[in-house]
Structures are given as structure tokens and as C-alpha cells.
């Protein structure tokens, strides 16, 4: 059986690159921000491999891949990724980009957290002042980080009337925060490309705990023999390699860089 799988993998790898297409289950931020639409055509032009992007939250993207329905994942929740790999679904994780998370909220700053750089202290203040807070509540990477930060702060906000769990994507959460004049946690990429900000501004940034790393994970071809392991590996290697890294670093929106290539790595 093992040989059969091996043969299949080799067959995939040996197949001509032309007319090949793979499905990338990606977190919404890299797609909604326009990054993938900018850099993937460069990869397709070079290799002939078409990349179909299935933009979902990290939790959903990993679940899709665990069902064997995606060829490669691009997500940003280190803990969920580790579980995914430990369960045998993924085999190789490469960090390809990073940026940071920020707390955004109304300019009037109802919680009085503006200008801070301590994420946990900010959440404690939000809870004390009972300032409206919008939570994704969708098991995305951003949602997972927010839940971890509340835990560190020693507060369980579930069910409090100022804590609004909207069960939606980053864009939906920003729309809701703008409409409710609430605070929310956002990745910087989605924030910079988001156009319906109304009164929202960045309130808290710069905490090392707010680091946001994006990883590609190759699927385990033994557990998921149907996936296109060869071209998926090509894409993972391209993203982590010099060309992909340069393309990621070159993507800007109105002069601001959205994602930093892993090469300018500020963290261990």
C-alpha cells in the first residue's frame, strides 16, 4: 500500500505542470487584503500551476484540509496548526509572512486604551469599563488569539452584555465594530484594506503577543492520497523561497506594507 501511495505522489510530482490546478485553503486575511490575488499569478506564470483560493477562517480551513478537500493550507494559528500536524494531517510547516494584530475602536476611545502597547492590560480595562467589544467567535486564528489573551488577562467575557460574539469573519467584525462603536481585535492586513472604517482607529499596537505569523502547511500524502502533493509542495517552496518572499514584501496598499516576508524576522 505504501508503494502505491509513493507511486501516486511521484506521479503527481512528475505530471506536467501545464493545466495543473491546486486548491489552497487559506485564511481570509491574506485573500481579502488582496495579497494572494497579487502574488499567485506570478507563481502561475512561472509554473503553469493554477491556484484556486478557498478563503476561510483558520479553523474552517484546517477542517477542510483534514477532510482531504484541500491541497495546501495557509493559516495563522500556531496552536491549531500544531494540533493539525500532530493529528497527522500536515507534514511540513513553513512560516512565509508575518505582521501584527491591533486593537481598533472608536476614535472617542470609550475604554481609554488609546496609545497603549499592552494587549492584556487593554482587555482588562475594556472589561472594567464595560466598553463594547466585538468578538469574531468563529474559531479563526484571530479569534483563537483573542480567547488566549482573555485567558492571560484572567477574565472570561462570555455572556457579558458588553461582549458581542458575532460569529463572523474579520470584515464582518469590523463592520459590526464600526456600527456599534465597539473595540475589536483585527489583523493589520484586513484593517489596512478595509474601507468601511467610519470612526474606527488603531488604539493598541506593538505588544509582542500581538505578533501574527502566517504558515503554509503541506498535507500528509499518506493520510490524504487524493491531494496533489507535488504542485502543492512547489507552491509552498515558492512562497517560502526568494521569489515568493520578495513578492510578499513588495505588496503595499496606499504606501503601507501589509505583510512582512519571513526574511525580516523580528522574533526568534
Amino acid at each position: 500500500m505504501k508503494h502505491f501511495f509513493l507511486a501516486l505522489v511521484l506521479l503527481c510530482a512528475a505530471a506536467p505542470a501545464k493545466a495543473e490546478s491546486i486548491l489552497l485553503a487559506s485564511t481570509t486575511s491574506v485573500d481579502n487584503s488582496g495579497l494572494l490575488a497579487r502574488i499567485l499569478p506570478i507563481f502561475t506564470q512561472k509554473t503553469g500551476i493554477e491556484v484556486k483560493v478557498l478563503a476561510q477562517g483558520t479553523g474552517q480551513a484546517l477542517a477542510t484540509a483534514a477532510h482531504g478537500d484541500a491541497d495546501l493550507v495557509l493559516v495563522h494559528d500556531p496552536e491549531a496548526e500544531a494540533k493539525f500536524i500532530a493529528a497527522g494531517h500536515g507534514i511540513l510547516r513553513r512560516e512565509i509572512a508575518w505582521n501584527d494584530f491591533i486593537f481598533v475602536g472608536p476614535k472617542a476611545d470609550p475604554a481609554g486604551i488609546a496609545g497603549g502597547n499592552d494587549a492584556v492590560a487593554a482587555l482588562r480595562t475594556v472589561a472594567e469599563r464595560k466598553a463594547p467589544f466585538v468578538s469574531r467567535g468563529d474559531s479563526s486564528g484571530t479569534d483563537a488569539l483573542e480567547k488566549r489573551l482573555w485567558k492571560v488577562a484572567g477574565i472570561d467575557p462570555t455572556g457579558r452584555d458588553w461582549y458581542r460574539d458575532i460569529g463572523g469573519g474579520m470584515g464582518a467584525a469590523l463592520n459590526a465594530a464600526a456600527a456599534m462603536e465597539a473595540i475589536t481585535l483585527s489583523d493589520r492586513g484586513t484593517w489596512l484594506s478595509f474601507t468601511n472604517r467610519r470612526d474606527l482607529v488603531v488604539l493598541v499596537q506593538g505588544d509582542p503577543r500581538l505578533l501574527n505569523r502566517y504558515d503554509v502547511i503541506q498535507m500528509n500524502p499518506t493520510l490524504h492520497p487524493n491531494i496533489k502533493a507535488g504542485p502543492a509542495r512547489q507552491l509552498a517552496e515558492w512562497l517560502a523561497g526568494p521569489e515568493g518572499q520578495a513578492a510578499i514584501g513588495a505588496y503595499t496598499l496606499s504606501g503601507e506594507q501589509l505583510f512582512h516576508p519571513d526574511a525580516d524576522n523580528p522574533h526568534p
Partner: protein, 213 residues
């Protein structure tokens, strides 16, 4: 705006294909239910009417589990393709066409069935005449099915995945642009969608013999 043309084309392709499938299945079922008597027939009529409110998101989820690589139909490789979207929407629209078509064909058969039988025509021979007599209300039944498919987002989002250039339709684009905060663009696309839906329905109505009445 021209980057939205392929999206409009896919929306029409998917919903028209689904409507065609649903019409064939729905009108066949309606004819069978109206013209023949068999045990369980009443139950099927109730079922068709009860399924008018079939939730798209549930149909989408069930189709997802069926078509996923781990599901029973996974080997077909249909998940995240337009074909999966057509199937899901056809399932949603079939009870609508069937229930509405059955209602009209049953009434026509009650009116003319005896005459057909007296003239010696078999039920199979009577069917084309019955369909021709019911053309206008049947058109409405088909349009109700089309209305369901062109406006539907829950099922196509789940089984299609809203993949750019591949499974992105008008409705999933509107959801996406709303989530990007591009509310004006989303609303403009919504108006275009309404325009297309109204146009298609009007054209079908005219072809269906509504003119001059």
C-alpha cells in the same frame, strides 16, 4: 465593472442549469402525482409542499458532507466546483417547481381528465395536451424555482467555496465585498443582480405566452 462579467455569467450558468434540472424533475414528479394514483402519493404531495422551506444552508452542508473526499460521493471530485453548486441548487428548487406544478396540473386534470378518457386518449397521450394547457402557471412554477436559485447564497457558498474565477457568483461576491467593507460596491452588485433576475423572469414570461393578455 467588466471584471464582474464572468461572475454574472457563472451566476446565470449555475442558476439556469439548476432551474432546468429542477424543472425536469419537478414537472415530471408533478405529472406523476397529478395523473396517477399509487400508495404513498398523498405523502409525496405533502412532502413537496413541506420542502418549500428547505433551508439552503442545510442542503449545502449535507451536499458538502456527501461530496467531501471523505464522503460517499467524494470520488467524483465535485466539491468546490460549479457542478456541485448546480446540484445543491437543483435540490432546493425541485420541491418548489414540483409543488406549484402539481397544484395546477391536478386542477386541470380534474377539469379535463374525464374528457380525455372519454375520447379514448391514454394518460400518456393526454399529458402533452395537459402540459400545453398549463403553460402559463407552469412558467410561474419554473420562475419560482429560478428565483430561488439566482438569489441563493447559503448553499453555493458552502459547496462552491467562493473561489475567484471558478465558483464565485453574484451572491457570494456580494457577501465578500460586504465583508471587505465595500458596502457601496456590494449594493451596486445587488442592484445588478436584481436587474438580471427581473430581466430573465420577464423574458421567460414573454416566451411563456404571457404577451397580449
Amino acid at each position: 465593472m467588466e471584471k464582474f462579467l464572468p461572475i454574472v455569467a457563472l451566476s446565470l450558468e449555475v442558476s439556469l442549469s439548476a432551474t432546468l434540472l429542477a424543472s425536469i424533475a419537478g414537472i415530471s414528479a408533478a405529472a406523476l402525482l397529478a395523473l396517477s394514483r399509487f400508495p404513498g402519493r398523498g405523502l409525496l404531495v405533502v412532502a413537496a409542499n413541506a420542502l418549500l422551506g428547505l433551508p439552503p444552508v442545510v442542503v449545502g452542508l449535507a451536499m458538502y458532507l456527501l461530496l467531501s473526499h471523505e464522503g460517499p460521493l467524494g470520488a467524483l471530485g465535485l466539491l468546490f466546483t460549479p457542478a456541485a453548486m448546480v446540484l445543491a441548487q437543483a435540490i432546493l428548487a425541485t420541491p418548489i417547481v414540483a409543488a406549484l406544478a402539481h397544484r395546477v396540473m391536478e386542477a386541470r386534470w380534474a377539469e379535463y381528465g374525464r374528457a380525455f378518457e372519454a375520447s379514448g386518449a391514454s394518460r400518456l397521450h393526454a399529458l402533452p395536451h395537459l402540459l400545453a394547457m398549463s403553460l402559463r402557471p407552469l412558467t410561474t412554477a419554473v420562475l419560482a424555482g429560478f428565483g430561488r436559485t439566482i438569489s441563493e447564497v447559503g448553499a453555493v457558498l458552502i459547496v462552491g467555496g467562493n473561489i475567484a474565477f471558478h465558483t464565485r457568483t453574484m451572491t457570494t461576491t456580494i457577501v465578500l465585498e460586504t465583508s471587505r467593507g465595500n458596502l457601496e460596491l456590494a449594493l451596486s452588485l445587488g442592484l445588478v443582480l436584481i436587474g438580471i433576475s427581473v430581466t430573465v423572469s420577464s423574458v421567460v414570461l414573454l416566451l411563456g405566452g404571457e404577451q397580449g393578455r
